[in-house]
């Protein structure tokens, strides 16, 4: 996806008048009432924001602090042995961390790209389907609502080197069916397939929502210009989908970056370190190595990467996200 310098000017008129606009025009309250209502607003928001801040922001700060320490478990609690930069220098120099980073980034980019492509294809298909769309949408929601661990067990069985149905299918066409979870490239591919199977429906439904909003006139205009199906798709459909696609990409990239459940069940990070994501590495560092400081350093750096990625994305696609987002 590339950045388009020109904002999509020919955006369709909203289906209904924007409520915010109406509010501004019709019912702007006098200043005193406004102040009182603003206070009520903060009062109502406070409990939710407090819970969120305590449980999410505070730990983030705590995590940053821990990442500069060497901590050890004791009978009564944990004890800081020393304050140090060592966790970060060790981490940055460690091939294991670099491998995990490379896997996580590569895996995220590839799976999300495939999911978006398949999601667009599925959405276009559903948009043009004459009957049964409701049922298919309902079916698509099931993988989305499936417990990831369950789907991982399912694919683990499908990929079983001896009795797995997928291995058996490969055996019908190949002399030597691959050991899917025991060889690096097939293991990564197999995990990606399981991931794509579960999340593409989610992407497809979001994109379909954007698709049905494209006004009929634009198709008609394209048809009058004599554009074929492909030309229409490239020139009309894709540009109009950019906002929803941007949002889907943002959500999926951030989700995929934290991938843990699938490798935990399918491969435990193997073969070698081929499928060891940052989250799996962080978990193992904490609970297999019992290295809290290092675990916090991995967690913090992952968080920093996510925020940086998020900000970069918002910067690049600001207009699209705004259009697709905040109504």
């Amino acid at each position: 996806m590339t950045v388009s310098p020109t904002p999509t000017a020919a955006r369709p008129a909203p289906r209904r008048p924007e409520p915010a606009t109406r509010k501004n025009r019709k019912t702007r309250p006098p200043a005193g009432i406004a102040r009182r209502r603003a206070r009520t607003g903060w009062l109502y928001t406070a409990p939710a924001l407090t819970v969120i801040a305590l449980v999410t922001l505070f730990p983030v700060v705590y995590s940053v602090i821990l990442s500069f320490s060497d901590v050890r478990f004791t009978f009564g609690g944990v004890r800081v042995e020393e304050w140090t930069l060592g966790n970060y220098t060790t981490m940055l120099a460690s091939p294991v961390w670099l491998e995990a980073l490379a896997f996580t980034v590569g895996y995220t980019l590839v799976t999300v790209a495939v999911e978006i492509a398949l999601g667009i294809a599925a959405a276009v298909l559903l948009d043009r389907l004459e009957a049964g769309r409701g049922w298919i949408l309902a079916l698509l929601l099931i993988p989305w609502s499936l417990i990831t661990v369950v789907s991982a067990q399912l694919w683990d069985f499908l990929y079983d080197a001896t009795f797995g149905a997928v291995t058996w299918l490969f055996g019908l066409v190949l002399d030597q069916p691959p050991v899917i979870l025991g060889t690096p490239v097939p293991a990564i591919t197999g995990m990606a397939v399981a991931d794509i199977w579960k999340t593409t429906p989610f992407v497809a439904v979001i994109i379909l929502a954007g698709l049905v909003r494209i006004p009929k006139e634009r198709y008609e205009a394209a048809e009058m210009d004599g554009a074929g199906a492909w030309a229409t798709f490239w020139n009309v459909v894709l540009p109009a989908l950019r906002p929803v696609v941007s949002v889907a990409v943002l959500f999926r990239v951030l989700q995929a970056f934290g991938i843990f459940d699938l490798p935990f069940v399918l491969t435990q990070g193997g073969p070698g370190t081929a499928t060891q994501s940052l989250a799996v590495l962080g978990y193992k560092t904490l609970f297999q190595n019992l290295d809290i400081g290092m675990g916090a350093a991995i967690a913090t750096s992952t968080g920093v990467l996510v925020i940086a990625g998020c900000l970069l994305f918002l910067r690049m696609f600001r207009s699209q996200v705004d259009e697709g987002g905040a109504a």
Binding site: L54, F58, Y62, I65, S69, V71, R72, F73, T74, F75, G76, G77, V78, R79, V80, G86, T90, M91, S94, P95, V96, W97, A161, T162, P178, V179, L181, G182, T183, P184, T267, Q268, G269, G270, P271, G272, T273, A274, L281, Y283, K284, T285, F287, Q288, N289, L290, M294, I298
Partner: protein, 444 residues
């Protein structure tokens, strides 16, 4: 957020220890474990929880319920609730550490690998046992074992059972092709290939090759066979990337390349390899003592009565007969609320009563010397029991708290080479880097 701030304070400054102690606002940081209640065996009814993996009986069944029943006959007021541990040792360890570091009083007693004491002691996950026991208590167990369970002068686990690795083979298939049990690893590979070529078995040799402790054990044995080691005896220097290490790992990789071992062996834990053997698909199997009970039992095996077992061979120009010392012990959770009952249970399993049950019925060896050298063990129908005494034990460097990282460096990088991710020399070079980091306490 007063509570959170307090915990932050307590964990982030050394002074917090003094502060917490002086203000009495909770558990002091640098205090020893609480041993009150360990001295007495309770009289009223209590329930303790025992986290344990299978203890294999000679007939392939599970001995855990038998042991619990025997204990209940002696201590009628102490009920034991069994919690099944996850299947592989590393997943079990992570789940257990999560639970024990959380301060949970459950499980009261947990079964753990003999490779764990250093790490568990260092991180206060297990209770030091010496203060709870009479002097000279440990003299009843093999010295080597007690040393493995000791960290900085105290013993941290009650021995439950011992295990050693052997080579299992298909007597019938070797006989049919006029072959003898292999005298060397090279002979094993060629015998297996011959039987495979004749179409009598799909697979030649199965072992444990996935990313877990078991692969480290396989590799440690082979490296020793080749005359090398993973670390120097003082555990300070990395010796894995020596010619011996290259030879050991290259041998395993060669097995896969030649099709003697299936490529799926890189996903195998003990049970996968045992399944491949008991279903009649493989000629050879490297596995622990308990495998005999399963593989020679018609109810669980298609090759019962047609198998043999021998000490592991060596390389052509070297000697064989080695094995890692495997085995499981019972640890006490320092946060247990029923320390007295927990101690009674762990002792029961480690002393005459529990060990005599193991000696009579288990597919593994009882570590208690009186039973280990006793008649019940000698009378076992498992021929490997007679061989066990002559096995030369290969030490894993388990006495450092960094051992889990050492082992991880070995199994991750070797698995990488075996699954075709990289060449053997490169994998060993990476392993060297990881191992050095582990010894410096800087491994990931």
């Amino acid at each position: 957020m007063p509570l959170s701030r307090r915990s932050l304070l307590r964990t982030t400054t050394g002074a917090a220890a003094a502060l917490a102690a002086t203000t009495g606002c909770g558990r002091a940081v640098a205090r020893g474990p609480d041993l009150s209640g360990a001295a007495e065996i309770p009289r009223g009814p209590v329930t303790i929880r025992w986290w344990a993996g299978r203890v294999a009986a000679r007939d392939g069944s599970d001995l855990r319920p038998v042991l619990v029943r025997a204990f209940r006959r002696k201590y009628r007021n102490i009920a034991v609730q069994l919690i099944a541990a996850p299947p592989t040792t590393d997943v079990a360890r992570a789940t257990l550490t999560t639970q024990v570091t959380s301060g949970s009083p459950s499980p009261d007693v947990y079964m753990g690998d003999i490779a764990w004491p250093a790490q568990f002691a260092y991180n206060s996950l297990a209770l030091p046992l010496d203060p709870l026991l009479p002097k000279g208590y440990w003299q009843r167990y093999p010295e080597e074992l007690v040393r493995a369970l000791t960290y900085q002068g105290s013993v941290y686990a009650f021995p439950l059972y011992l295990d050693e690795a052997f080579l299992y083979y298909r007597k019938d298939l070797l006989h049919k092709h006029g072959l003898r049990p292999p005298g060397s690893w090279e002979e094993l590979a060629s015998s297996a290939a011959k039987i495979q070529r004749a179409g009598d078995a799909d697979l030649g040799f199965v072992w444990q090759g996935t990313v877990y402790e078991g692969l480290t054990a396989n590799v440690a044995e082979l490296v020793a066979d080749a005359g090398g080691s993973i670390l120097s005896p003082d555990a300070r220097t990395v010796t894995f990337d020596s010619p011996a290490g290259v030879r050991a790992v290259s041998y395993l990789r060669e097995l896969i390349a030649r099709g003697v071992s299936p490529s799926s062996v890189t996903t195998f834990v003990e049970q996968d390899s045992l399944d491949a053997f008991t279903s009649g698909r493989s000629v050879f199997l490297r596995n622990w003592l308990y495998a005999w009970g399963v593989a020679d039992n018609p109810a669980s095996s298609q090759v019962a009565g047609r198998i043999g077992v021998m000490r592991r061979p060596g390389f052509e120009d070297g000697t064989g007969g080695r094995s890692c010392l495997g085995g499981w012990c019972n640890y006490l959770n320092p946060h247990s609320r029923n320390l007295g009952a927990a101690l009674a249970f762990a002792r029961f399993l480690a002393e005459e009563e529990g060990q005599s049950i193991l000696a009579r019925e288990a597919a593994v060896l009882p570590p208690l010397l009186s039973q280990l050298r006793g008649k019940a063990v000698a009378r076992s129908s498992n021929p490997a029991f007679a061989l066990a005494r002559e096995v030369r034990l290969v030490a894993r460097p388990t006495r450092t708290p960094e051992y889990p990282m050492v082992s991880k460096a070995v199994f991750t990088r070797v698995n990488e080479a075996l699954s075709g991710g990289t060449s053997v020399p490169r994998a060993l070079a990476r392993a060297r880097g990881d191992l050095r980091a582990a010894l410096r306490g800087e491994a990931l």
